[in-house]
Structures are given as structure tokens and as C-alpha cells.
Symmetry: C2
């Protein structure tokens, strides 16, 4: 903590950045509701569309919004201020500094993932380079759950709950009308969201029966063996796949299968491929199964898409509370005289589930990616029980299912 | 009603059929919990995978399941008995009759949509042809909401709630990171589910801004004009599309756009096309926009897929209650001496919302499709307020949103 004598007077700016989540407004309001009562703070300037709003001096004033409206905003999914994927380069420096100075911004808060924490670091560096005194804090947010130094991140718990509820339903759907079903989930580099599908397993025969994350190498031949085995055992097979699965050389599986199946794949000068189809990976995997295991198999693929991050009415109670607390914590630290940092959610104890909101260095989080730890991955096609234990309190209670005629059991 | 002296003694059989829903087990349990107390009924034979279970004499006995377990089954999404898409042809007749007779089935209940009600009619005809005395009732179920004689059908309310909650989130997502977003929803012939996306409109600027259902002819040129206008007005555009949209000649839009965009479309001898891609329509529409309105536009497409029908934890309270009541009503009628029929949910009054469970003729429902009435469709690209009024009580309460900076309003 700072020495407490270090309180500066001026305005506060706050922004939201990156892909929205179901609880990113909780963090916004957590920060606003605390800082609005601070004596040093005059206006609270909500940046319209993140750093773009700062750059263009396009602000939504928030200091006079009554608490009941703040509470309703907090409960609303997605980023109420608007979001942004802009990363400021050199050309932004001057205008960002002007905006900070012209608007007397002395408290700066930025809610987002690893790219956004890097933006926060960059803004902080501009201010520092001009000896401009400012408090600068990053507040974590990402459904990918891939921030370094964090046990987990706000937004993940609710997206994971959405994935779990989808799979609970889809497992029973697949049980009622048996076949092979592939669901493709968000996660280019980190498999946390895909791993959450494991929560749908409540009974021994429940799917997902196979789970593939980007942290494990995906072998299309081994995949066929896996699917064939489960299908022969169970008469059905439910599969969870991260969009980012790739081969040994790191080539995206959608591209590899597209080429294998004789589709023209266009590459740019850097060798990068833009696959147009939103459902491409799922369709190629389904085709891969049909071509190799039998064209008459009932194989279906769904790609969950944007629904995962902002679905209304499927919020984890833990996530809701923690997102708010993370926002409050950033305000607290800034008012206590700390100069800069990133809020990290850490878990000193599993039982009882205990959370601390600690301050870590911006550069320890900025532009870095945390991956699913090895102990959570089993045999390249499954997720461990230790992950289930890890994720359960983050997601909270889930609907329970009651089956008729469990395989190997009585009716 | 029958004369009440007409009670027959024997076993009851019950089956579930077609695509599962979030509340089809409510109807199952509604029927079972009532009929299990009837003096005339000995065993309750749950058909494993619908008419296939009847055909193969594969039954799950349900008469001894305690009420608390029945209640848990009722709350579980999808078809607990397993479902089926089999439609019995001539070759089934003999074996179906044998199964009815061998198992002394005197009460027959079949839960499903229009195809399933036709199966129910066929089974009934087999029994009648042999002068086999049996009560035979169809219990309605379909997320498509396309059964004749019904105001709405069990399963629709919950699927519509899922669609509404998705669009509430996706509208805010699209507002935070503006662009053009297309969501493709289930509904080959009937647009009721797609129409439910209109419930996401809580504020004047909320999407979906355009809604296309199969009941209206889809004109790809008019579509571009619509999208361009909204995008210029709002800086974004959220679009709901039924999978079944087609041109004037009835050709599926996915096929038409695929050909327009130079993809090879394979047709069988009957001229039918099998499009492999699960996300094909969405991708073709996105491509259509980019090719014509600008390749640098941010255009995204999601296809909601199976999630719509069985998502766990997003059940309409009305739907839950009505699905149960429809199952109970079928049992009541059978025990009261009625011989055959289909339960129809009818609404004698809008305010207060009042529901009756009436008996209609099997042949009035079987294999027929109800479409979205004309008064619910506006200008071929929108859904009317009268539909909103119709659908609201069926879906029940939805999460409310609070915006910052509404267009044209104050912050």
C-alpha cells in the first residue's frame, strides 16, 4: 500500500476493452461506486469505446448516476461504455497525453484482458514520459481465463456456466437421438472455456466423451480412433473442441482438414490463412468422421460463437460478485496512494473457497497468455477431475439431471 | 367427455418423439403421475426411443417410480425415454399390433410434434383395424410452435426464451463492438422461433434490426438495401434469420447464394441439394454483404444450432407448467373414457392470459404445419408488436437491460 498521503485531486477515467462479457459492467460499477465518493475525485469520465474514447475525448460522465441505476447497469451484460480492440501505437502518444492533461485525468482504470492490460501499460508509459502524475490500474476481464498471475478472471465463470448448461442439454439431446455431435468453443490459445464442458458429466455415461484443447496437439488419426471407440461403446459420442486446435507444427486444424478434403485454401504473403466460414472447423471435423468412419453416420456440428460471452440470464453468482469486487479493489488501491498495477484474483485456499484481490505489476500481465496447466489435461483428449474441482466454485450451482435407464444400471 | 363408464383395464404405454425440448419430460411426468393412480391401469410402459421401443418391445417401467424422482425427471431437459424420428410404414403394422396386444396396452400416449402426431394416428389406426380396444392420445411438443389447432405448443416457450436471452446479450455485444451480425435460427417452415428474437428489443435502438422468417419471400437484393440502411443509421446491424428462408420459387437461400458465389452445388436425381455446412447460410449471407457492401465491413455470422431446444436452466415458467398440464390432460381424458385425440393448448383470453387444454381430432393436427400468421410479419423484414404481445406470456419474464448513452438521448 502507498503511504496514504499521496492522494491527488482531479478526474477519473474508466474504460472497457476487448470482447465483452456478462459481468464486465459489474467491474465498471464496482470501481465507479467507490471512487465517486472519494474527496480527491471530481468527474468520472467513462471512455466511449475504450481508448478510442480517450483519444477522441469522447466521454460519458458517470459521477452523478444514482446508485439504483448503477446497480441496473452492473446487472446488464456486455460493455455499457462500448468496447474497443484498438491498441495505441506511437501515433497515439501525443493525443493520449493531451487528453489526459486537458481533462485533468489523474485516475485511470482500464477493464480488459491481456491486450487491454498492455494498452493500460502503454497509456501509463505516455503519462510517465511526461512526468504527468496519474494513478493507473488494470482490472481483469476475459472469458478465455488466460491472464497471468490470476487464479481465474471475471467473465470466465459466467461463460463457463453457459458452456456447462449447453452441454448438459446437448448431452441429453444426443442421448435421446444418438449420433456423433461436435461442439466448437471459443479459445484460440487457452482451453479453459472448452474444458468447462466437463461439468456436464453428472452420470458415468454423460458426455462430453472427448475434449480437445489447444494446449494439446490434435492428431486427426487419433481423433478417429477415439470417436470410433466411444461410438462403439456408447452408441453415441459428444465432443468438445476448442476453435484453436492445431497439429504438431501449429497449423490450425480447420486449415489442415480443408486441404486434406480438397478445398482451396488461400494464403497471404505471410502464409496466413483467412478461413471464411464461421462453422468451418466443426464442418471439416464432421466431414473427416464421415469420410473415414462411414458416410451414413449421423454426425452434427455446432459452433457456439458469440453467445458464449454475453448470454443474458446465465451468470455465475461467484463471477458476478468477484467482478464487482475487482473493480472496487482497483479504486481502493488508487485512493490508497498506489500508483499503478493490475488487480489479480488469487485463491489462497480451495476449501473453503477463498479469494484475494491482490496487486501485481502491469508488465507481468500485459500481452502475456496463461495456458491450461498440464495437470488439467488427460491423454490429449480429456480433462481431469482436478480441473473440475478447480472450476466448480467459479461456475457455481448447475441444473442437475435425472436419467431413466442408466447404462449398466436398473431403470 | 366420454360417459365415464367406459374405463378399460390394462397397461399404459407412453413415448416421446422428434426433437427433444427443455420441457418434454414435464409432459411425460404429467401423464405418468396421473395415470399411475388410476384403478384400470396396471403397468406404465415407457417406450424406449418412441415407436421403436414399441416395435421392439423395449420398455422402461415407470409405475413404481416415486414422486420425488418423477419430479426430478420432469425438471430434466430432453427426452428421458429417448426419442425417435421413425415413422412407421406398412411393414410396422403387424409388429406394432402384436406389441400392443402382447403387452396388453390399453392406453397409448405419444408426445411430439406434427410428424409424431401422425405416428400416433397410424398406431391408432392399426389398433382400430384389429378391433383392439385402446385409448390413444397425442400430447403436443415442438420448439417450432407449428401445430395446427394450438395457440402455442410446449417446448416453444423455453426455446423462445433461449433465443430472446441470446439476442439480449448479442445486441449489447454488437453495440459494444459495432458491426453487422447475422444469427441463424431453427425453423425450416415456421418462423415462430426466429420471431421471438424481437423480445430483445427493450430500447428504441436495440436489435435485432431485421428479422427474416420463412413465411416471407427473401430477396437478396432487398436484404442488402435493408442492411445498408440500418448500418448507415445506427453504425451497426443485428439480423435474425430463419434457416428456412427462400426465394420466390421456394429455393433455399443457402443454395441460391452458394451458386451466386460460385460454389459447386451438387443435386441428386430429384434436384434436392444436401448442403454440408452447418453454418452455410450464415456464411453465405455474410459473404453476400461483404461482396456487395464492402469487404472491409466487420460482418459475423453465428448459427444457434441444437442449443436452442434443450439448454439447461433457461426454461420459461409458463412453458414448464403448461407442458405438465398438457400431459395430465391427456391422462384425464383417457381415464374419462375418451377414445382418441390430441391435446391442444388454446387461449380464450389474452388479458388475463388464460389457457384451456382442449381435445381436438388427431387428423386435424397430424402431419400438418401451422405457419406464422400474416399479421405477425411486417414488410418482409420485421415482426409486429402484436406478435410481441402474443409471445410475452409464453416466454415469461426476461432480464432487463440498462444502457448508458442511448442514441439521441442523454447519457
Amino acid at each position: 500500500m502507498g503511504d496514504g498521503n499521496d492522494i491527488i485531486t482531479g478526474n477519473a477515467a474508466i474504460g472497457q476493452s476487448g470482447g465483452p462479457t456478462a459481468v464486465i459492467n459489474q467491474s465498471l460499477i464496482g470501481c465507479v461506486e467507490l471512487i465517486k465518493h472519494a474527496t480527491g475525485v471530481k468527474k468520472i469520465l467513462g471512455m466511449h469505446h475504450g481508448v478510442t474514447g480517450l483519444f477522441n475525448q469522447d466521454f460519458i460522465e458517470m459521477q452523478d448516476i444514482p446508485q439504483d441505476r448503477l446497480d441496473r447497469i452492473a446487472e446488464t451484460p456486455s460493455a455499457a461504455l462500448g468496447s474497443s480492440r484498438v491498441k495505441p501505437d506511437e501515433s497515439y502518444g501525443e493525443r493520449i497525453f493531451e487528453s489526459l492533461r486537458d481533462n485533468d485525468i489523474r485516475y485511470f482504470f482500464y477493464i480488459g484482458g491481456n491486450d487491454s492490460s498492455d494498452t493500460c501499460r502503454i497509456v501509463n508509459d505516455y503519462a510517465k514520459a511526461q512526468n504527468y502524475e496519474m494513478r493507473c490500474f488494470h482490472i481483469p476481464k476475459t472469458i478465455d481465463n488466460d491472464l497471468k498471475c490470476n487464479d481465474h478472471t471475471p467473465g470466465y465463470g459466467s461463460a463457463a456456466k453457459f458452456v456447462a448448461c449447453s452441454f448438459i442439454g446437448d448431452n441429453l439431446d444426443n442421448r435421446a437421438l444418438p449420433g456423433i455431435k461436435i461442439n466448437v468453443l471459443m479459445g484460440r490459445h487457452a482451453g479453459f472455456l472448452t474444458a468447462a464442458s466437463v461439468l456436464a458429466r453428472q452420470n458415468p455415461e454423460d458426455g462430453p466423451h472427448l475434449i480437445y484443447v489447444p494446449e494439446a496437439v490434435f492428431d486427426p488419426d487419433k481423433f478417429l480412433t477415439d470417436v470410433d471407440r466411444i461410438y462403439k461403446e456408447q452408441g453415441r459420442c459428444l465432443i468438445a473442441v476448442s476453435e484453436g486446435i492445431h497439429d504438431q507444427e501449429g497449423e490450425a486444424m480447420a486449415v489442415k482438414l480443408a486441404e486434406q478434403q480438397g478445398h482451396a485454401v488461400e494464403r497471404d504473403d505471410h502464409g496466413n490463412v483467412q478461413l471464411s466460414g464461421s462453422g468451418a472447423l466443426g464442418d471439416f471435423l464432421a466431414q473427416h468422421i464421415k469420410l473415414n468412419l462411414g458416410k451414413d453416420l449421423r454426425v452434427r456440428a455446432d459452433t457456439f460463437g458469440y453467445m458464449q460471452r454475453c448470454f443474458a440470464g446465465c451468470v455465475s453468482p461467484t463471477d458476478r460478485v468477484e467482478a464487482r469486487a475487482a473493480g472496487r479493489k482497483a479504486a481502493e488501491l488508487a485512493l490508497a496512494g498506489e500508483r499503478e498495477g493490475s488487480i489479480a484474483i488469487q485463491r489462497p485456499s480451495d476449501e473453503p473457497y477463498t479469494i484475494e484481490y491482490n496487486m501485481v505489476k502491469l508488465e507481468d500481465v500485459a500481452a502475456k497468455t496463461r495456458l491450461l496447466p498440464e495437470e488439467f489435461i488427460e491423454d490429449d483428449n480429456n480433462i481431469s477431475d482436478s480441473f473440475k474441482k478447480y472450476v466448480r466454485p467459479i461456475v457455481g450451482p448447475l441444473p442437475t439431471v435425472e436419467l431413466l435407464r442408466v447404462r449398466g444400471g436398473a431403470d
